[in-house]
Subunit: 384 residues, 5 copies
């Protein structure tokens, strides 16, 4: 009977407190103190206690159980079936060290697995391949994405995967494929499972990218139609997040490429064809990220241009109103002067019978002339 | 009797509803769910039902028919003549899977053909070459271009091409060349046909580029002479579209280059000379696209400068009018004060016989002086 | 008797109609319709009818004639002397095709020669080297430069050069060197002649660059001292032209480099030393072009800064005048009010004996204070 | 008995006088006069007199002493235990030259050690490896970081390290590991010690980077919420410092990489695995620095946008107030004119019974209309 | 007796006429007419007549003389001692050609030496190495630097150096080292002398860089504290000069690198170690130049930000003053109207006993309210 390990997963916690969760990723890294001996593990105390799930399968049957201790793996590792040990959570130094012993991990490998985040990379050991990748998943609230390190250890007939947290993985469909015997996965070796997991991680970038595509499209309308200070924040935020995404995908390409080229005896020639497909997808993701980054940079330019445009329009309005009324005010000021009109040269206009209508005529001519001038200049109406 | 398959083509639908058709291309991709087994096909339900056209020719005769089912290809594939099977439309999973079986395609190859868009690439298989390219054609309405994936499978004596849609292909002249026996094409093998198709796809970029050349030239005049908010939109739009074009052509170069270098037994040495010519054209297209991108970036700079220039001019106008009239208004305000002129020190000017003419003299001097100052500064006339 | 072919050249036509001649170069290219068979020639109907000049020389004698038909070359090609066939003009498909037959050109070679512009490149054939270069010459009117494609076919004892137009070539000094037996050229083989021609084309970039150097220096003064809208246009124009120049010289470097490396049997080891010198000059030209492009980009920055500076200065002037007079106007407005001064609290100042002088004192203090403030701020005088 | 050399360290001097200490690093370098013979040492007179500390250990025991003269090293170098000679300070030419003699250093090596700063590099000599690295440590006052050159000479059974100054090194934990026999270090050779030192230097970048992460986060809030001139200074400062950090880490990567690749007999194959881990960390540091640099560049963009936004808002406020009151002032000016109202056409409004209330009605309508217009335009309230 | 050739040097001429001497370097190059035969020398008529200095030395003795003719070198070249022939000035074609004959130079080598400026490069000939470098020296007036081409010909037991001008070389200390027998130079071969000269040229960049470091530091203070139009000019000037410096140093690196790699028999393995040190210094110079260029680019950004800041501040001041006084002026204008106050509804305020004090109360409230609003907004005081 196959047990579905996903049922053990705790429901994702709504961590409202971490408002700027995505920003932290830039600045947090669990590096031991400079000068510490190699293999020093840094345990993040907020991290979940590791759950150990095992799926053991061959062409005929598949078994899924949660293990209590790392040492419970031993009977499965010795069998001829493929064993996938999936560890979720990095919260216990003791469990992780025992895990390292069970799988015979080099102290530096264990350090790479535990002291997250590491750059994606592939390292070959005598009878193991260490593959470190970053798995991204969309956030439900639309505020960016989760970036989680996944470490794969590929051995002769087993795979060990270590995830940062119990939530948000992209491996569920693979568990289903093994469980329901869909496709050829059950009849294949551990290397094919490794390919399937890597493929799921790489393809997991696409939904995240789709989110960003939509956000960029929305932002573009906003920038052109109604740019505000929030727009600037949003552009900046999207640029930061794409920067993060780029950092996650670039080294992934090199890692997968070296996996293809390195001709490890653990990976079959036929599976390498599938990995080449993975590589193509990674390049496609990189392409998208670079395109989105360029689009976001363009948005910044348009934002600035829109601002300049807006200042221009405001200035034009001020100029039209001011320059029309300022001369008029002067003229009215002239006739408000108190020169003694008994003296003949002093403002005889004030006593002329049609002085006031004539004043309005002057006013009309001046303002009319100026408005005509502005109309000719194209300053009267906003060039929508 | 040679049948002209172009006659089967439905007339292009005027899809007015898709206003931002070109934008979608950035964000849409038909990737299977992360974790799906390899070979999972994603059928876009808006896609046309595949039409299968066959052209079978040798030096002596040429035949063109539309086939009802993929299996109808079998008799032609076995013959010694060259068979070109052209499938237009990706709307039926069943037909595509049967097609895959007829031509013996790897499941990943079929996935690459169906789950569009893929990056242009070349992959070698035992007795087949998979060549994925992007074909662009100008839109009749001048709003950008159509970008369609074309997958070529080159076998020993056949070629399978799969297009996204029945409309807008660039292969018509080649059908005519086969039909009318123009040039050497009828006496050549399938590899020469592959070259001819690739060449047509690459050369198809030139008319699109010519459109962009004209649009850039128009935009340049507009930016310098009368920049408006629309201009900004247009520059942004052209930048986006050139970005798309660039994404289509860059990997094409690598694909064609690897085709030349790889020394596949399916491609004759002589045909490789022709492909080298194709490669040169691809590089030329890339060159043009990069040049246009730089020109578009320059336009953005000029747009911003023009805006600044315009703000400057408006400011200058406001400044001239304001600073001329504001002092005058003050002077007229002074003589509008109601100081008791019976007291001798209080505004004796009001009672002077030539007070009013003298007032105008003052006004004239002030405004004349300021205008002279502005004229010296060069603020009076716009530096056209 | 050596005939000087330059005498046949028609005088350059003053084509005033083509105002934006240099812009066309971005957008015009003679590509056959997509899908045309290889070797399709596109004849620009404005192009001149090809003139065929022949110079045949050895150490002892040199002969220069204009030939009526391509076939007239045959007797010279068979001789042991070096034959330089120089074709000027691409206006006749028939002549060009016959020329192709005379020299045994591959159909793609003929296409590259005729369907201008092609990117500079070198291609090796069995007993021929195709060298495509771009030759630039300064325009007499100072509006940019002419960019003409020159195709060289180097054979065992002959060279075929094909130029776009009869005017503006840089080969005259070489004709003179052959004619007057200057230097060692007469005693050398065809490969040395090829070097001499390539060297003349590369060195032809220097006078053009010198023009741009001068124009940049002039522009720099203009930008700093008196930036106008024209300045912006000029900067943009120079940037466009340098972009063109760059596109002409970059692939030239690769072409000459491959000529040196490829070890063609047609080029002597000793001549390769001379070509290395050519290569150095090409790199120097590229260096200059990149430097000029950076200088032009800097000019754009300075232009924008100058504009901002200018806006700043205008604003400062407006602010000084406005903020000095606006309070004064208010004060004068106060004493223009019509409060009933018979009531003791209502504006007793109006009846005070020294009210008016005191008013001026107030005015002076206010404006003096503001001016002092502005002087301290440094807003009074433009920071020249 | 193990002596802890850290106890000899003078307390760090609070050098308040060097306000722009971090700027000096850009401009100061101790290069001998051009034309000096190689090996010319430049002694900075502010530099501390060299202290020489020795730690000599094997698996069984460890000894730490301060040596009076370089020659005191001799007995330790000849033993089979690992000797780590740590020289702190570059203030005495004589001591350094004697040191060079004791360790048999090439004159150029001594020059590289003394004439700081040099670029990080690795050079192989017959029985020595010269490794020049830069060690950074956070400053206590938060004003940037200290950048100190550390030169390692790796010999068969000894390591010589030369530091610029006695303060601020990152080697203390390693001294403790040797002293307290933590980890495997005591049972390893000199190459492992070299790895441990290099690892400590590389990991020393992480706390510095963490500081910058926090500063960038603070700055980002400041830029968006309240950008001032200080903000500009801070962004500029952070950009300069990240530039310095980048200059320190980039060549470090190449240096460590060449150490791994070069296959020096002095470095064991097993230790090379550890160095590969070091290399990964260096790449990670570089990644962070580049990301931070991009974030800082983004901040500059946002700063400029915020300024434009602010100008816009001020302009809008000025425009609203001015354009509302300027027409009103004109109207009130009209009724302040002194036309002789006895003449019937001259301002009959002044004598109308409801003239004044009607005047206010006009005023209200005008200002109300303008305010409505502004409200529609969205100019009334800042788009927060 | 050793003659010190430096005594022959004419005192540097104060060429005040060449105000923009450093700009010329961008645009001047002595290239022969396109199409000239190879080896055509271009003599700049302002150039000095070549002086020929010879230093001939071995471990025992050293001799320094000025030679009258190139042919006077012959007796020294044949001896076993090292001969350094230093030619200063390029003003005589005849002397240079004779020099070419004496040293057996290829015509292209002579062209490279004479037709300055050439890009730095290294070319190997059978028994000679041509090394072309650029030597920079600070100008005494602080206006940039002198850039002079130095061509070194390294032969078996001689070195020929050709400098553009007699002034400003960096070789004096080397002459002194030979003269006074300092260091090992006297006991070494010609290759060591070549190293010493190259080293002096490379190290000669450091003082020039130090000048730029100081100028950048000064400029930075100026940009932040008091940016004027001059500041813009200075930034532009420094950017141009750094561009020049970059053009001089970049190819120098490649040149020295190829010298190390090429394994010329003329250069001893031991001397190659010294050249590697030279190479490190060149890379360090490049690093500095790139850093300075980035700093200069940053200064431009800060300049623009400072301008925007300044415009902002001016606008704020204008807005505060204008918007405070414009409503006040309106109010005072209202009470200056001449409505007939005998009619009861017409401006009864004018006759109220406390009308005037009440008017001031209104004025105070309005201006107080506005000032409070501005203070809250933070517009009252410049955010210093």
């Amino acid at each position: 009977m196959l047990h579905n390990p996903a049922r053990f997963k705790p429901s994702p916690i709504e961590d409202d407190s971490e408002e700027n969760d995505d920003e932290l990723e830039f600045y947090d890294f669990n590096e031991p103190e400079p000068g510490s001996p190699p293999g020093t593990l840094i345990i993040d105390e907020d991290s979940a206690i590791p759950n150990i799930f095992l799926i053991d399968y061959n062409a005929d049957e598949a078994l899924g159980v949660q293990l209590a201790t790392p040492e419970d793996c031993f009977p499965y590792l010795d069998s001829h079936s493929v064993s996938w040990v999936d560890v979720q959570g990095l919260g216990s130094e003791e469990v992780l060290k025992r895990l390292g012993k069970v799988f015979g991990l080099h102290e530096l490998v264990l350090e790479d697995i535990v002291n997250i985040p590491q750059r994606p990379k592939v390292e070959s050991f005598e009878d193991q391949e260490l593959i470190i990748l970053h798995m991204v998943t969309s956030r439900e609230d639309g505020r960016g994405f989760y970036d989680e390190q996944v470490s794969l250890i590929l051995g002769k007939n087993y795979i060990l995967t270590v995830q940062e947290e119990p939530e948000n993985d992209v491996f569920e469909p693979i568990r289903q494929r093994i469980h329901r015997n869909r496709g050829v996965i059950r009849s294949q070796k551990a290397d094919y499972l490794a390919y399937a997991l890597i493929d799921a991680i790489v393809d997991g970038f696409f939904p995240v990218l789709e989110d960003y595509g939509e956000r960029l499209e929305d932002l573009q309308d906003e920038v052109v139609e109604n740019p505000t200070r929030q727009t600037l924040d949003k552009i900046h935020k999207i640029k930061r997040e794409l920067l993060l995404l780029r950092r996650a995908i670039w080294p992934q390409r090199d890692a997968i490429n070296s996996l293809i080229r390195e001709e490890s005896p653990l990976i079959d020639r036929e599976v390498r064809v599938f990995l080449r497909d993975c590589y193509d997808h990674t390049v496609q993701v990189m392409d998208m990220v670079e395109t989105y980054r360029e689009l976001a940079a363009n948005l910044m330019d348009i934002y600035l241009s829109s601002l300049s445009n807006s200042t221009n329009e405001i200035m034009r309005f001020l100029t039209v109103i001011s320059t029309v009324f300022i001369p008029l005010t002067f003229v009215s000021g002239v006739y408000g002067m108190n020169f003694d009109t008994d003296i003949p040269w002093n403002m005889p206009e004030l006593k002329m019978p049609l002085g006031y209508p004539f004043f309005w005529l002057v006013i009309m001519s001046i303002s009319g002339g100026l408005l005509f001038y502005f109309w000719k200049k194209g300053w009267l109406f906003s060039p929508k």
